[in-house]
Symmetry: D2
Subunit: 458 residues, 4 copies
Amino acid sequence: MKPWEGRFTGATDVLMERFSSSIAFDWRLFRYDIEGSAAYAEMLGRIGILSGSEASEIVAALSEIAGEIENGTLPFRDELEDIHMHVEQRLIEKIGELGKKLHTGRSRNEQVSLDTRMYVKEELARLDDDLKGLMEAIVRKAETEKTAIMPGYTHTRRAQVIPFAHFLMAWYYAFKRDRERVAGARLRADVMPLGSGALAGSTLPIDREFLRARLGFSRISENSMDAVADRDFVLDALYAAATIMLHLSRMSEDFILYSTEEFSYLSLPDALCTGSSLMPHKKNPDALELIRGKASRSMGALFTLFTLIKGLPSTYNRDLQEDKEPLFQSLASTREAVAIMALAVRGLFIDREAMERAVRMSFMPAVEMAEYLAAKGVPFREAHHIVGTMVKACEERKVFLWEMDLDEMRRYSEAFDEAVFDYVDPRHVVENRKTEGGASLREVERQIEKESAYLRGP
Amino acid sequence: MKPWEGRFTGATDVLMERFSSSIAFDWRLFRYDIEGSAAYAEMLGRIGILSGSEASEIVAALSEIAGEIENGTLPFRDELEDIHMHVEQRLIEKIGELGKKLHTGRSRNEQVSLDTRMYVKEELARLDDDLKGLMEAIVRKAETEKTAIMPGYTHTRRAQVIPFAHFLMAWYYAFKRDRERVAGARLRADVMPLGSGALAGSTLPIDREFLRARLGFSRISENSMDAVADRDFVLDALYAAATIMLHLSRMSEDFILYSTEEFSYLSLPDALCTGSSLMPHKKNPDALELIRGKASRSMGALFTLFTLIKGLPSTYNRDLQEDKEPLFQSLASTREAVAIMALAVRGLFIDREAMERAVRMSFMPAVEMAEYLAAKGVPFREAHHIVGTMVKACEERKVFLWEMDLDEMRRYSEAFDEAVFDYVDPRHVVENRKTEGGASLREVERQIEKESAYLRGP
Amino acid sequence: MKPWEGRFTGATDVLMERFSSSIAFDWRLFRYDIEGSAAYAEMLGRIGILSGSEASEIVAALSEIAGEIENGTLPFRDELEDIHMHVEQRLIEKIGELGKKLHTGRSRNEQVSLDTRMYVKEELARLDDDLKGLMEAIVRKAETEKTAIMPGYTHTRRAQVIPFAHFLMAWYYAFKRDRERVAGARLRADVMPLGSGALAGSTLPIDREFLRARLGFSRISENSMDAVADRDFVLDALYAAATIMLHLSRMSEDFILYSTEEFSYLSLPDALCTGSSLMPHKKNPDALELIRGKASRSMGALFTLFTLIKGLPSTYNRDLQEDKEPLFQSLASTREAVAIMALAVRGLFIDREAMERAVRMSFMPAVEMAEYLAAKGVPFREAHHIVGTMVKACEERKVFLWEMDLDEMRRYSEAFDEAVFDYVDPRHVVENRKTEGGASLREVERQIEKESAYLRGP
Amino acid sequence: MKPWEGRFTGATDVLMERFSSSIAFDWRLFRYDIEGSAAYAEMLGRIGILSGSEASEIVAALSEIAGEIENGTLPFRDELEDIHMHVEQRLIEKIGELGKKLHTGRSRNEQVSLDTRMYVKEELARLDDDLKGLMEAIVRKAETEKTAIMPGYTHTRRAQVIPFAHFLMAWYYAFKRDRERVAGARLRADVMPLGSGALAGSTLPIDREFLRARLGFSRISENSMDAVADRDFVLDALYAAATIMLHLSRMSEDFILYSTEEFSYLSLPDALCTGSSLMPHKKNPDALELIRGKASRSMGALFTLFTLIKGLPSTYNRDLQEDKEPLFQSLASTREAVAIMALAVRGLFIDREAMERAVRMSFMPAVEMAEYLAAKGVPFREAHHIVGTMVKACEERKVFLWEMDLDEMRRYSEAFDEAVFDYVDPRHVVENRKTEGGASLREVERQIEKESAYLRGP
């Protein structure tokens, strides 16, 4: 029996029951649904719609139902549509007429908003912890490897020598910003909607403040129509997840690239790789490739929601049911991906020798050479041109800049003297860089220290 | 035991096993995987890698495994990753050493391409049938209601009188185009990849032509690297599904609008509506709202795939695993949505009286009035201005154009005479329209006749 | 002459020059580019790379160049690629060798980050003002119309009576949340990147703190590689714009619907409508339709950026150039749309009579009737069923609930008595609703008062 | 003066004029608009609405207007909204009253559909030519380099030896499929909509067949409401463009990777690279990075259209105006990107030595070694395990498989004999592969030959 069948003549089509049922995924909300219902029953007791003992009886029965769902003994049926109706129906089976009172002045529109908000709050809190775990792993790795140097890249071309730890810390700051987005999303989810009814609130004296406190929310919603329709908090959660996955995807790509046979700066732990069914020698960075792939899905989830919400007339419409699977899928896989990346960072093996070899076999000191000339008064644009010409000449002779001797250099500019060799030595470069946030050993130390303190928290 | 563990030292991390496992969704491919493996075993028999009896033994065991999966007696385990390895492992359990020969010269890269192609071909064939069913429903409804007239809208404003059947047939043509897209997608899926190995083909004399014929494909792939990497056919299938859902979503929106209390041109069968948990009087068009919502997901699935594929280095990468869930989800819900819409069209109740009332209570004959003047030699832009001025005057007096008498009309233009009343009568308008494809009763008849013939097919 | 041509042999292909040039759109950054360069020159003066008079000469010349660009007298050329090189080249033309010193220790990678950050900060500040203007317009309209009542809708079906002002305020809260997102985006943009070089900082003692203060930023970037690569602030700006447009699009849709001939609750000012080239009677809500359409583009812009960034190897890559047009387009049209919506709200004409008629001609008091029974002790689920049955009976007889007399009602439930007629009277309903945030006249007053204070600001 | 102002009271808001004007981009359609209008005038002449000389006078004036737009002497003004009204207004200026007759029975709704269809047909025809040019470049390069061998990659890890030309041809087949999509999109665009009016056709005897033939279309639209609303052909064009850009983006990524210092298999012509403003030694693959970036925008354009169309009520709505910029932008940059890639392919320098060195310094013959054992009767799964174990042993000793002697190999399997060294030699492998489409020299020849014939065309 459907709760609303009083007004209907025909029965629901079976295909329609399957098409419209959401129990296959929204059962995941059961804990929140039951907690919300228990709080609601207590509140009905306080305002006299239920007697004290009625309220207690309902709360007790709800708690049993939670157990039944956990144990898998409550069968799910498409004709009961969703988790809300499963719980209510089971309650009526258990305690009869009294069960029919629970829904007084309440709508599924606000219930699903409540449940989803509770879910989002909890998952984002966990995601935030996961992020901190990853950031901790990065800082620790940066510390361990803080003297390793490697080529830094722009346009996937060797650009300037950098400490490996500086490269790693660049990703750290992306995740630090992600925590801000997660915090914003949590704030927006932290609003208690019960008491909004289907869209208009209620003529009954629902005690919203009691419900807020009982369910651990910071604020109550201020407009009942906004309350039942608003899914901005879902967008915010999906946006935060999508940006985290974006960063993880790019970081994965870096690690995949740097662990190729050709770069061979890094290798990944066997525990995160898999092999080939055909090629006996393969060790593939599957974990990181999957992060890249799952990032696309989190982005797809965000865009699904945007498109879905754009098409909605105001307040509640059934389209909103389709926000659940993308939301559940995206948050779950983002949390897993963060954890996997933390494992990857911890298990990363760094080949310092390979990195240093690459640093040496390159034209990278060109910038410092130009800065050297600039410091000696050569206008920078000219210094740039001079060194560019030297690089071209070296390429033709298949030598590197440091293989030129001073006489030869001075043919390009009189401003060169012996000191240049020292100035452009890679180890010296990473010691000499002077700017805050620059790719220097000193700055790496500073970053590690400051962020270690941040992670230990206030 | 993993098939590739010969080369590895460490074991796979448990979190990684869960993160990378695809068996939870790719088990849906089992029938194709087993059919592909059986064909492969037969082929190995033909080229002498297996004896005839070995091939038969494998085929028989595979058939048993299919039964076990159907009955749910084969347990799925994350550490076996995917459907391919579950089948192979079970085969080895059943027939020992012989089972280890099946994978000779074959890679999972080509297997998953094969399975997915077989799945897409089959699902698209069914989707095409579903589309024909919907188109049939539309033509039948158009025929039944072919004399009903209603306001046609642009900018959600009453524009010109049209036959209701003309409005319905407009959607028909969208689905007819969708069949072309489905056909294109089927063509692109209909390519047999086996024999491509991991990316390079094989030194063994794999008989690709035999496999093609045995598995019912039209063509074999022409470049092994393209074969293992190509997911264009997935994009094409998702694009076809997304455009179908786009049309269904807009058609749903039209039906939702026209069945509001305010329009009340249509009502939907109870079998496709649901009620409210709080509001006893509600009958909500949930089926159609869900179509709108699920359309967003199909669009999200397409964009997930675009983003995913864009990030891929060439040939096979593990990211590709993440194409499965969006693909399965989108095709399944598109098929359901098409079927639901066919039910909606068949069950639609048309309120002709309400429609005619709306036709009458409007300024819609304004166009015809201007065309009437134009036919009498008034430059159209001037005729347009004259009638516009008349409309403004009517609005101020709160009357409609047909409530003006001839004298009054002639104050706006001398060109008006008695005939105008007849010319702008809505029933006459839908009889008089002369253009092919126009909103006339004659054209509706023509469309119905022509498309009935098309649907009966050659 | 290209600044980097020292190292090149071949000339750039002409097609390539056109393909890679960004001057056609990034000239919009010229004010920021010049302000950034002036600050940079001053800083070079402070650290002794330039003399004081050299710095002044550069600053003065830059100021002239700004004037030339404003007046359109500086021609743009594809071979100079972007705004940065146009400004530098012009500087060299003007002041010769000295101009070549400006770029000392600086990279276009950090320059474009700086310019874009300055642009985003400024545009978001303006957008925030625009949002406040719109919110102000909503509150004022709500106040003016605070006693008007109308049907509230769920599933585009009449659900419960509400004050029109409550409906309007529901949108207000969406924009209030949007301001939070804008604030988050501003915060993330407010980081000064200069001194990061191409990716590694500099061996020169660039005074970043001076630059920060001089250019009005709150913080400096902490990691040079992150600084040149980070476009999270662009994502955040586009996300904020997309959610604003999402809200505007849905609000537009509401207004379009409510202003149809069928609803006719509202009409829009002529100043925001346009007519038809063919149909003289049409007045179309083009402004609102365009908002809906432009919303899609803002969502598309966000998606573009996600996809673009996902594919990037770490630090700077040229792909990033393609972030500009979506960013400029989205922020500009969001600002315009907010302003247009403020005009629409201010100019909205409300037809109270039509609204009240619709309230009356409906089954909407059904909820309150059920709540009435529940308050009398009938279990809510049963009360719901009773009223549902009454609605069905009424529909068959084509009457409304309030057309039943008490005797008849009591045939459905003994709990009914005379008081019910008063309880379900729409005007009483909007007076009686008790919940905070509910659709009652009292709550509307509270919302208006509280938010007026908020808008007056601290 | 607006053509529709007869019915309006207030003037259009200036902000609204700017917001709603499309002339800034739709002027690009002027040639189609004028050609369509000329055809329409001729048709009006044939059906007697215009006299023969009137029709000629209009056609002549239109031709002058085309000239004025080309020369830039016709100023564009926001208050005239779009290209259609600019042309009509100018016509009236030129020839007075007669100009007011042109629009008889015609609507901008059908005009914009016509213009856009003509534009899409023409641009797709050109894009198809561009694609053929690129495919030709690939085949020619493959032919020139057909004996070069390199490592083939899966998971960005060396997998199996392949001919470089086989890698190149893999991309060829992607573009060949793209031509099918372009062809489908052209087919769908090739439908003549004139005669559909605003949505309902006309009471005037518009000669649609004449218009079709005169304007070079294959078919006329069959339902007037579908005709004015349908933008499927825009989706199809954007989908084709997005898939082409997807392929170009991935191909770019391959070239960028293979031309790094670390891979150094390829180098790109200077004509497609640019340098750094700071780093004198850089030569960056900007052309290819921009292709990657612009690919995101084409994907964003497709997404924009999907979202836009999903939100549309049926038939024409003003939102549709926003399809133009994404369409123009995407088709133009796709055509440019195809041309740039053709330049890149032609100018590519291949370093055969570096490729062969990489082939040799790898465990790649492992597959062939396992196939060798399988051919000798070792069950493949066992052979795979044996070779995997050998690889692990080699890695520990830092040698390659080919550095093991036979005795050592036989410790892993008795099945090894002298012939194995020959079997796994890379040159022999690419000669021995037997499968059609496999990575063998013979198959590369076959592909080149077959596709050369295809490109010469029928």
